[in-house]
Subunit: 547 residues, 2 copies
C-alpha cells in the first residue's frame, strides 16, 4: 500500500444503531457489516449533530456544528462560502467524490450575490456540498423542473422501467394480487415486494456505481475519499424480494416505551407524541407491519456491502482503503411513542460507526470496541488526517479519531452536542411556537443527557440508572439533578459562546495579529525610551505603521 490510503465513507440513511447484529440485534444478522467491525473499530457512542437528514449531513460534510454552518433544517441551503470537507481535501491534492445523496440544497441566492455561475465548476461543486459528484444528475440542477429526477431514474428507464416517476412506481411501490400499483409512501404497503428486481433496486444501483467510481479512480491515480451514500433504509419502507418477507412479527424487538412517558407534563414532548407520525408509529399494527420491511432493507444493504467488500478484496483495493460505515440518524419505530426521528433518544441521535483502517498502525485495535464519546463531525478531520490535509482548527470543530484507531492517546471529548430546528413541524403549530424560537439543543456527557427546549423546561435523562430513557428528570427537584442541570447549562453556554464562525482565523492571520501585538501596537508609549525598553526596538528604526 502507499503512504496515503483512500477513504470509502459509507453512510446509510435512517439506520438505527441497534439494528445490526454487531450492535446486538437478536434477529437481524448483518455478517458483512460485522466482518468490517472485526477488522476495524466499532464505536458505541457516536452522536449526530442533528437527528434529521439535512443538518446532520451538512455537519458531517463540513466537520462543523449545525449552529456554525446554519443549515438547520432539510432544504435550508448551505450558505455559499461555508467550507466543506471536499474543499479541504482538494487543497491537499485529494478528490472528494459523491456516489449517492447529500440532501444538500444549493444557496442559489448567495451564488447570484457573489456572481458565481451555478453551472461553473465551482458552482456545481458548491451546489453539491463541496463534493465532485460522480452521479452528476443528482442534485446538481436544484432549480430545474427535473429537480426530483435522478440518475437512478434514468437508469431505471434505460433498463425498461418506463414511467414518469420510475423511482416511485418501481423502486418504491409494490403490486397487489390484481397487479395494481400500490405506493410505499403509504405504510400499509410496506410488506409488499418492491416492484423492481433486487439487482435494479436503488441500493444495488448505488453499490454498482461505487465500484464504477473506484475503477475509474484507480486509473486516475489521485488519492480519493468516496462518499457512498445510500438512501435506504430511509422511508418509503419497501424492499425487493426476497427481502420483503424475510422477517415477520416474531423478529421484532418489543418497543422501548412506558405508560409514564405518555403522562408527560412537558408541552414539547407531548406535542411530539401528538404529531401524526408519532401517533402512527405508536400503533402496534403499524410497527409490526413496517419493521419487517425496515429489517429487510438493512439485510439487503448488508448483502450489497458484502458484494462490495468482496469486489474490493478481489481488486486489491481493501488493503489501501480506510472504510467507514455509519448512518445520518436513527428511527424511532414507535419507541417512546414516537415515529421517524427529530428528537434525542438514543435510537434517534446515536448512530452506528465502524472504521476499518488497513494501515499497520491500526493492527492493535482490530476487532476492538471504543466507547469514546464521538460526534459525526469527527469523521471530517479523521479523513483529512488520512489524506494528508493539515488540521484547520479555525474551521473544523470535530476531533480527529486517528488516535482511537491507532491505539494511542490524544482523543478526548467531554460533551456531545446535537441540535434541532422544528419550525416547520406539527409541534411548532400545536404550540404556536414562533419559527425563530422553535429549536432544541442536546448536550450529553456519556451519562446525563440534557435537552434544552427554548421556551420550555429542559428534559433530562440519566442513562446510567435509566438506559431506556423513560424517566424524564428535567423537572426533578433532587439536588443532584438540579446540580446536573446547572452544569449542563454552563457547558452549553461555554460551547455556544465559542468562536464557531471565526473561520478566517487562519494560522497566518493569527500569527500576523500576534506579531503586531508583540512588537507593539503603538499605543500607550510615552517616549522613545519607553518604547525601546518594552520592545527592544529603537523607535527611530520603525517602519511607518498602520492604525
Amino acid at each position: 500500500m502507499t503512504d496515503t490510503p483512500n477513504v470509502l465513507w459509507i453512510m446509510a440513511d435512517q439506520l438505527r444503531f441497534d439494528y445490526l447484529s454487531c450492535y446486538g440485534h437478536p434477529h437481524l444478522k448483518t455478517p458483512h457489516i460485522d466482518a468490517l467491525a472485526a477488522r476495524g473499530v466499532r464505536f458505541t457512542n457516536t452522536y449526530v449533530q442533528s437527528p434529521v437528514c439535512g443538518p446532520s449531513r451538512m455537519s458531517a460534510y463540513t466537520g462543523r456544528y449545525v449552529r456554525s454552518h446554519g443549515s438547520t433544517w432539510n432544504g435550508m441551503p448551505l450558505r455559499i462560502g461555508e467550507p466543506t470537507l471536499g474543499d479541504h481535501l482538494r487543497e491537499a491534492g485529494a478528490r472528494a467524490v459523491l456516489v449517492g445523496k447529500t440532501h444538500m440544497t444549493a444557496d442559489a441566492e448567495g451564488m447570484a450575490w457573489l456572481g458565481i455561475d451555478p453551472t461553473s465548476e465551482i458552482g456545481v461543486r458548491a451546489s453539491e456540498c463541496g463534493f465532485e459528484a460522480f452521479d452528476r444528475d443528482d442534485g446538481l440542477h436544484p432549480d430545474s423542473p427535473r429537480q426530483q429526477w435522478s440518475a437512478y431514474d434514468d437508469y431505471l428507464v434505460a433498463h425498461g422501467y418506463e414511467s414518469n416517476n420510475p423511482w416511485g412506481d418501481f423502486a418504491n411501490s409494490g403490486l397487489d394480487e390484481d397487479g395494481e400499483l400500490l405506493s410505499a409512501w403509504l405504510l400499509k404497503n410496506s410488506r409488499l415486494a418492491a416492484n423492481v428486481p433486487e439487482e435494479h433496486s436503488e441500493t444495488a444501483y448505488m453499490t454498482d456505481r461505487a465500484m464504477e467510481f473506484m475503477e475509474q479512480a484507480t486509473a486516475d491515480g489521485r488519492p480519493w475519499m468516496c462518499h457512498l451514500s445510500y438512501i435506504k433504509p430511509h422511508w418509503p419502507y419497501i424492499v425487493p424480494a426476497p427481502y420483503h418477507d424475510m422477517y415477520d412479527e416474531s423478529h421484532i424487538v418489543p418497543p422501548v416505551r412506558s405508560e409514564d412517558e405518555k403522562d408527560t407534563d412537558h408541552p414539547l414532548v407531548k406535542a411530539y407524541q401528538q404529531a401524526r407520525v408519532c401517533q402512527s408509529f405508536s400503533r402496534d399494527h403499524v410497527r409490526e407491519h413496517v419493521i419487517p420491511a425496515y429489517m429487510g432493507l438493512i439485510k439487503q444493504l448488508d448483502d450489497n456491502l458484502g458484494r462490495l467488500f468482496a469486489w474490493m478484496d478481489e481488486k486489491g483495493l481493501s488493503e489501501n482503503t480506510i472504510i467507514a460505515f455509519t448512518s445520518d440518524h436513527g428511527d424511532y419505530m414507535g419507541d417512546h411513542w414516537m415515529g421517524d426521528k427529530d428528537f434525542y433518544h438514543e435510537i434517534a441521535v446515536k448512530v452506528p460507526l465502524i472504521i476499518a483502517d488497513p494501515r499497520p498502525q491500526a493492527d492493535s485495535t482490530r476487532g476492538g470496541v471504543s466507547d469514546a464519546l464521538v460526534e459525526m463531525i469527527d469523521l471530517a478531520p479523521t479523513f483529512m488526517n488520512a489524506l494528508g490535509c493539515k488540521p484547520k482548527p479555525h474551521v473544523i470543530e470535530g476531533r480527529d479519531l486517528t488516535p482511537l484507531l491507532h491505539g494511542e492517546p490524544g482523543f478526548a471529548r467531554t460533551y456531545a452536542i446535537s441540535e434541532h430546528d422544528y419550525h416547520w413541524s406539527d409541534m411548532a403549530r400545536t404550540l404556536e411556537q414562533k419559527q425563530e424560537d422553535a429549536h432544541t439543543k442536546m448536550i450529553f456527557d456519556g451519562r446525563w443527557k440534557y435537552i434544552r427546549c427554548e421556551g420550555f423546561r429542559p428534559v433530562l435523562f440519566d442513562l446510567e440508572t435509566d438506559p431506556s430513557e423513560v424517566h424524564d428528570l428535567g423537572a426533578s427537584q433532587t439536588p443532584e439533578h438540579i446540580a446536573v442541570r446547572e452544569r449542563m447549562e454552563a457547558a452549553l453556554l461555554d460551547w455556544a459562546t465559542r468562536h464557531h464562525t471565526r473561520i478566517t482565523a487562519t494560522p497566518a492571520v493569527l500569527e500576523r495579529q500576534k506579531k503586531a501585538a508583540e512588537t507593539g501596537i503603538l499605543i500607550g508609549f510615552w517616549d522613545e525610551a519607553e518604547y525601546h525598553a518594552a520592545t527592544g526596538i529603537r523607535f527611530e528604526d520603525l517602519e511607518p505603521v498602520g492604525r
Copy 2:
C-alpha cells in the same frame, strides 16, 4: 423632498459618549453636534457590539452580532458571503458609499476559494465590506505593499507635503522648537500642533470628500447612504492649530476610578490593569497631557461638521437627508485604571448616537432624548427601512429604530450584547489563556451589566446603585446578585443558541418548508383514507414528491 430620503451616516472613531456638550461635558462645547441633536433624537443608551474598531464596525456594517459575522478582532477578515448593509441597499436600488475608513480586512483566501477576482466589481466591494468606496485608494489593495498608503496620503503629497509617509510626518507629527519632527505615536508629543494646517488635516479632508460625494450623488440621482467615517479622535492623539492648545488641565474631568478597583481579585481585570496601555493611562501626567489633545480633536470634528451641515443647508440637502452621528467605541483615558478601549465600562462600550430625520413623521421627536436600549446593529435596519429595503430578519439581528424616531410604539429590547476577543493581547499572554478561550461577552439590561469571562468568574455591575461601575459584584454572595447572575447567564444562553447563522432562511425557503409540512411530508400515513382525512388531498392526485 422625495419619499425616499438619503442617509448620511457619520461615525467618529474612539469618541467617548460623554465628551460632547449635549451629553454633558462641562468644558468641551460641541455646538454643531448639539444642533443636530436639537433637530433629531439623542439616544443615551447605545451600545457597540464589540468595544474595539474592527469587530464593532463589522457589526455596524452587517447589522449582525460579532458572534454571527465572525470577524472577532481587527484584521480578522470578514468572511466572503457575509451579507452587508451595502448588499441589502443595492438590492433595493440605493447606493451604499464609503467616505473614510472601515477597518475591513478582505477575505482573500475565501475569494480565491470561490473563484472571485478581488479586482472585479464584486471583489472590490466584498473587500470594502459591501460599500462602494468613493475613496477608492483606501483599503482596496490589502495585499499590496502600499497597504497603508491612503488617498489622503496622495492628497497631502499633491498639496506639497512630500514624504514617504505624509500621513505620519505631517498629519500625525509635530515639530519641536528646533523644527525636529516628533511623532504623535509617542504620547509625550500629543500637545504639539500637528505638522499640517487644519484645512489639510485628515478630518477636514474627509469632510471635503463627503461634500464631493454628495455633489456627484445629486447629479447621479439614485438614492444613497453615505458612510462618512472619520479616523479621529482615535490615536495618534494630535491636532492642528488652533485646536492643540484650546484646552488644558483645567478642562479635564477627573478620572472615574477607585482605589478598590486596584485590589480586584479578578485575574482578567487585573491583567487588563497590568497591560501597558492601562499602566500608561493610569499615570496622571499621561491623562493630563493627552486629554487636551483628545478634546481638541473632538472640537475640530465639531467645527468640521458645522461646516458640512451649513453646506448641506445651502445645497438643499438637509431637508432630504437623514443624518446619524455616532462612534465605533469609546476611550478609557485612565478611567478605571485603564487606557484605550477593549472592555465594557460605559465609557468604552457606550457611544453617542444622534439621528436627525427630516421627514414630517419625525417632527414630534425633534430635540428629544431616548433612553431606549439601543445596539449599533440597529442602524442597518433603520437605514434599510428609510431607503425602501424590505426587512430581512433571517440576516439582520438589529432592530429598526424608526418607531423611536417617529414617536411610535414598536421598538423593544431587553438586553444589549457586546463581545470581545483578546487572544492577541497582553492579557492573554499574562494569563496564558489559549487563543480560542480568550473571549468575553457583555449582557446589559439597562441596569445590570454582566460580563462573562471564559475561564474566570463573571464581572457584574449595578448601574442603578453604582453608575460609576467601580464595585464589581461578580463574586457577591448576596441572594439578589446570585439571582441576577443566573438570569443573565440564562439570557446569554438564550441569545447564544439562537439561529444567528441561518442566513439562508429566506421568506421563500421558510414558505416552501411550511407548505411541504402542511400538505404532508408523506411519512406516517397508513392508507389513502388517512391521507385524505389529514390533508384534504386525494392521495391519487398527488404529484410525484421528493424525499
